[in-house]
Symmetry: C2
Subunit: 291 residues, 2 copies
């Protein structure tokens, strides 16, 4: 199954159920309904306003107050925060039909797949972990867009236990959503996410707090605004991410701390040559970066 | 002298000399010639290509290979890197006419003004330190724009010894360039710049290096791209800034290190509540930020 073929071919995913109608969940619904890729898109969210927004925008054909109404879904997408995922998997397993394929969009993968090894979910082999690397400023369904995932990476984390056809269905779904699927082990995903996403959020959060007490914020230029942009993201979500991916986050923080202390030594000792080499290495790394 | 009046009134700065025809120097020339605010704009740069670019773009009426040709300037703008500033001040003092007003655009202010206390520059009282908080990606004259400073802050650092009319002339020049003048002590400037500009550059440089060895750079999202954007800036310039502002930079690095180690403790100890409060404080700081 190649990416190009799937995009052109008419794929129907039957009934798609979306659990969590926030920015990610509602954007998935908008896209699927927009391209007519599902017979029906149904959704569930604990929040009445998220449900109302999703229906009003046309992200779902219908929304429900309880998860059990999504039992008919052929593909179930769990677009919930990391700490809600395991309870949600357990509940979904009770209600979903016998051959349902299940995926998620959570920012941390390893701890869920560890847990799955010990918990006898019926749909365990048909669960394919996923994580779209797309806009997530903690906003809700009202900001959803059908092209949110266009051209963005979407990591999939199948394991040895994953059913091949379930993986292929989710891979195809990701292509339909406009994203580029990228298959990694859960461990690879969590290490990359810790360095490329979780660490930057920690840094932005520290910087924003350091700037809070300055008398003349107008001295800030573009670099400050760029580096603190994501500091306003949803605190609950980020506290969850830092708890659930704590080993990889701690390791990334440690590596960062080491480089920071080396830099500080060079500043204290006025080692101009060391500072020059540090900034040269950074400029080379940035130039070589392709994303 | 109020900002609004100056902008509307026709101000002529006589002959303006620009030392250093990089992004900043050439942008100053473009704007002054664009609005007809100077009788003549003349420039000097050690680089033949920078001189050629500046003339071709119309940033200067004429450019010269040696600084002594700028002796006639009524206002002399030293748009050179921090470590070139003191030699440049000494040389300019030899050549400039008796009542010349001199300003600079360097990212660090304190060490120059300390040095000025001990060195008998003729134009010492007519030197007004300045720092435009505008685009600085280490690119040259070719990228200069007449509106580079539009709406951006431009810090001025007069001291007790500064001549009042020299300060007013430079303040007026900054308004003519489209920027918002902001008067700080050199110490205030350097502390603010260390936190709001120098620290973010250090962080971006570390992050870019940490990402360099990852196998799957495509996992990066928008936050990574934002936080590493300035990592490719001119390494020479940044090594100079970190050397010349080393006390304030070291202090900012130390504060950052402290907050990072507190965060790491909370991650290691799985203190979800502490993590939540950390991200909440960051979101509050970001929301309260006005720039």
């Amino acid at each position: 199954m190649s990416g190009g073929t799937v995009c052109v071919r008419r794929v129907s995913y039957g009934t798609v159920g979306i659990v969590g109608l926030g920015l990610i969940g509602a954007s998935i619904g908008l896209r699927l309904r927009g391209v007519g890729a599902a017979k029906r898109v149904i959704g569930f969210d604990v929040s009445p306003s998220a449900r109302a927004d999703a229906v009003r925008m046309g992200a779902v054909d219908a929304s429900y107050e309880t998860l059990n109404h999504l039992g008919d879904a052929d593909i179930l997408v769990l677009a919930v925060p990391p700490d809600a995922l395991i309870p949600c998997l357990i509940e979904a397993d009770v209600f979903c039909k016998v051959n349902s394929i299940v995926t998620d969009t959570s920012s941390v993968k390893g701890y869920v797949l560890e847990w799955l090894k010990t918990y006898p979910l019926r749909f365990g082999p048909r669960f394919v972990g996923g994580h779209p690397m797309a806009g997530n400023e903690g906003r809700g369904a009202a900001d959803a867009k059908a092209d949110l995932f266009e051209g963005r990476s979407w990591v999939l984390t199948p394991t040895q236990a994953t059913d091949k056809s379930a993986y292929e269905a989710v891979h195809s779904l990701v292509l339909t959503l406009g994203a580029k699927p990228l298959t990694l082990t859960p461990e690879e995903h969590d290490r990359h996410a810790a360095i490329l996403s979780h660490l930057p959020h920690a840094i932005a959060a520290i910087l924003a707090q350091m700037g809070a007490n300055l008398v003349h914020p107008e001295v800030a230029g573009a670099s400050w605004n760029d580096l603190t942009r994501v500091a306003g993201s949803n605190p609950d979500l980020w506290a969850n991410i830092f708890t659930t991916n704590r080993h990889e986050v701690a390791s990334a923080l440690e590596d960062f701390e080491f480089m920071l202390s080396e830099l500080k030594k060079a500043v204290d000792a006025e080692q101009h040559q060391t500072l020059l080499e540090f900034f040269q290495a950074a400029a080379r790394a940035k130039t070589a970066w392709r994303n």
